[in-house]
């Protein structure tokens, strides 16, 4: 992380322009003006930058530890420079990291697709159509956003037992999707609210039905919102621990977030090296996802040129 220096202008430039900073003072009084400048501008800037650097280092330390430990076959809780080695990665992969990551990909992928489709449809209806008690429905949705999953897990487990949905990655991802849907609906409804209706009207008068309007006009226009919602759902499902642990006891379905625990308990001691390597492997898909979608997100959310005035 680099902390950008918070400087208004280089001092040399200010001296070259008599009108700046010290006002239209004659040359002789420029020196006290510079001293005041040092006191009021430069000093606070130095202190501010120093504070930000310290905070940055505090945040960076665990990351540094993670990377250093991953390549150190004798990793410990301390930060030490390693003798470079991939032994930890091999050990992590041998103990089933790749399978667990595939399981995580399945759970996160399926739940992301389901949650995004459901939320887009629901957000569209809530934004555009008359819904009885719409205001109340929105309040309930926001309330659900804050509801802890732990609270629902026991009843969900019992329901799954009674309809025989336990130990199925698909049904587990349904529940994962459901935990993300309230926030996604709320997010996407707000995005759709911003889309001027004329675009949909223009598409409708050209003969498009509701679904075509949604797919060819609304969704492309709210793509940044859809992506944000999808990424959040993906990350939520990717890191989900309790839901897959409870709902799918099948060892071959274990996702990464659950699998990582074996390194914390094996032989009664924490295996720091493989743990760090596993952590890096496990975070790679999310990082890749960010990199891919940032290309789309940087386009921003605007309707420039479509509507006059």
């Amino acid at each position: 992380m680099t902390v950008a220096p918070h400087r208004d202008e280089p001092p040399g430039e200010a001296a070259a322009r008599p009108g700046a900073g010290g006002g239209a003072a004659p040359r002789g009084t420029a020196f006290p003006a510079a001293a005041r400048r040092l006191r009021t501008k430069v000093l606070p800037a130095i202190i501010g930058n120093l504070a930000m650097t310290i905070i940055g280092v505090i945040f960076l330390l665990p990351l540094a530890w993670l990377i250093l430990a991953a390549f150190n076959p004798h990793a410990s809780p301390g930060v030490v420079t390693p003798r470079f080695s991939l032994a930890n990665f091999t050990q992590a992969l041998q103990s089933g990291a790749s399978g667990a990551i595939m399981n995580s990909l399945y759970l996160a992928g399926v739940s992301t697709v389901i949650a995004t489709v459901v939320s887009t449809l629901a957000g569209y209806v809530l934004s555009r159509h008359y819904v009885p008690l719409k205001g109340a429905a929105l309040v309930v949705i926001i309330f659900l956003t804050g509801l802890p999953v732990t609270l629902l897990l026991i009843p969900i487990y019992q329901i799954f037992v009674s309809i025989g949905w336990l130990d199925s990655p698909f049904y587990t991802s349904l529940v994962l999707a459901a935990t993300s849907v309230p926030f996604a609906i709320w997010l996407l409804k707000n995005f759709i609210d911003q889309v001027p209706r004329e675009f949909e009207e223009a598409a409708a008068i050209e003969g498009s039905g509701q679904f075509r309007v949604l797919l060819t006009v609304v969704v492309p226009l709210i793509m940044p919102g859809v992506l944000v919602s999808a990424i959040l759902t993906f990350i939520n499902s990717w890191g989900a621990f309790l839901i897959p642990l409870v709902l799918d006891a099948n060892p071959s379905d274990t996702p990464g977030a659950v699998g990582i625990y074996q390194f914390m308990s094996a032989n009664g001691q924490v295996q720091f090296g493989p743990l760090a390597a596993y952590g890096i492997l496990f975070s790679l898909p999310v990082i890749i996802l960010y990199l891919i979608s940032s290309r789309w997100l940087s386009g921003g959310f605007s309707f420039a040129g479509g509507i006059k005035g």
């Binding site: 675009f199 009207e201 223009a202 598409a203 409708a204 003969g207 040129g305 006059k308």
Partner: protein, 364 residues
């Protein structure tokens, strides 16, 4: 192609009427232009025809069929939106092709049609761009092109030329008339521009405050305005509307205005006699007021002081103060007039319009 009828159509937004009891019927293939001041309900009327707004009361028919509950996509209309509504995420070519792709037209046909409309509108070079990269006039032409690529039952055009420069506007006016002559599709066209209305319309519907003031052919609207509002709206410079009094004891029906007794013949004269009050308004078009030549044929005339002279090249507009009123006269160029000098202007009472001073309705 289809007839369009509005029967007692009203639209209120939160109880406030935007369109109020409009009765209008448009023949198959007719080019109807709706004009009126800003906020008079033109766009709202068009949106009810398109199906974006549901009338609060009244019936909308297209091709004889009641449309009130038919969704826009099933009405088979093409529309140019006042604010364009181009799809921002699509190129110009995709915007133009949108409707044909919905109707699954063959790719080759689409490409050909898009190319031909683009060349007609002069936007061939823009086909690969997105709307954000176009100027206002270019966007407007794309919006027009998107509508013209259809052969709908009717065109709804909301100020489709408002953002073009004068030369381009004249050219597009011509193109639209040509297209309409070639394919006489029923067209409802909204504009602020009197020249557009007068030159393009088969009929003009003049609206004000959500109500239709008059629906007539352009010449009729000009020569036979139904009320003072219509008279004041049509024609440039504006008609002179001057209050007057009925002279009851004269032998012929007579109006006294600007200290001048004006005989009124014909039906207006007959109606004048039975008017329950004496208040009238006379309407004199600037082109009907002529500086008095030395020899006069006994026409009524008024004397006034020249307040302002606006030479426009082909003609000169003169503001003449007569008593408490200012008359606008259209004079020939280089008439040798001077600000501050006193002149007489005469007019033919036969071309004068007489309105009821209380209701504003035309008499006769």
């Amino acid at each position: 192609m289809a007839t369009i009828t509005l029967e007692g159509v009203s639209k209120a937004f939160k109880g406030k009427p935007a369109v109020d009891g409009v009765d209008l019927s448009i023949d198959d293939g007719q080019f109807l232009i709706i004009v009126g001041p800003s906020g008079c309900g033109k766009t709202t009327t068009l949106r009810m025809l398109a199906g974006f707004e549901r009338p609060t009361s009244g019936v909308v028919r297209i091709g004889g069929r009641v449309m009130n509950d038919v969704p826009p996509k099933d009405r088979d209309l093409a529309m140019v939106f006042q604010n364009y509504a181009l799809f921002p995420h699509m190129t110009v070519a995709k915007n133009l092709a949108f409707g044909m792709r919905v109707r699954r037209v063959d790719r080759k046909v689409i490409d050909r049609e898009v190319a031909s409309i683009a060349s007609m509108l002069g936007i061939e070079a823009l086909l690969g761009r997105k709307p954000a990269e176009l100027s206002g006039g270019e966007r407007q032409r794309v919006a027009l092109g998107r509508a013209l690529l259809r052969k709908p039952k009717a065109f709804l055009l909301d100020e489709p030329l408002s953002n073009l420069d004068a030369a381009l506007r004249a050219q597009m006016r011509f193109e639209l008339k040509r297209i309409h002559a070639q394919f006489p599709v029923t067209t409802v066209y909204v504009t602020h521009d009197q020249v557009e209305a007068m030159t393009m319309a088969d009929r003009i519907a003049l609206m004000e405050g959500g109500r239709l003031q008059q629906v007539a052919a352009p010449e009729v609207l000009y020569s036979e305005p139904a009320n003072t509002f219509v008279a004041g709206f049509v024609g440039s410079p504006k008609i002179n509307l001057i209050p007057g009094q009925v002279v009851r004891d004269a032998r012929r029906p007579t109006i006294r205005s600007m200290s001048c007794d004006i005989p009124v013949d014909g039906t207006a004269g007959a109606v004048l006699a039975s008017l329950p009050h004496d208040n009238v308004v006379i309407g004199l078009r600037p082109e009907e007021l002529r500086p008095r030549r030395p020899a006069t044929g006994g026409l009524p005339a008024v004397r006034g002081v020249i307040e302002l002279i606006e030479p426009l090249g082909s003609e000169t507009h003169v503001a003449l103060r007569v008593g408490g009123h200012v008359l606008t006269c259209k004079c020939p160029p280089r008439a040798g007039l001077e600000v501050g000098s006193e002149i007489s202007v005469e007019f033919d009472p036969e071309h004068m319009k007489v309105f009821d001073g209380d209701t504003g309705m035309r008499l006769g």
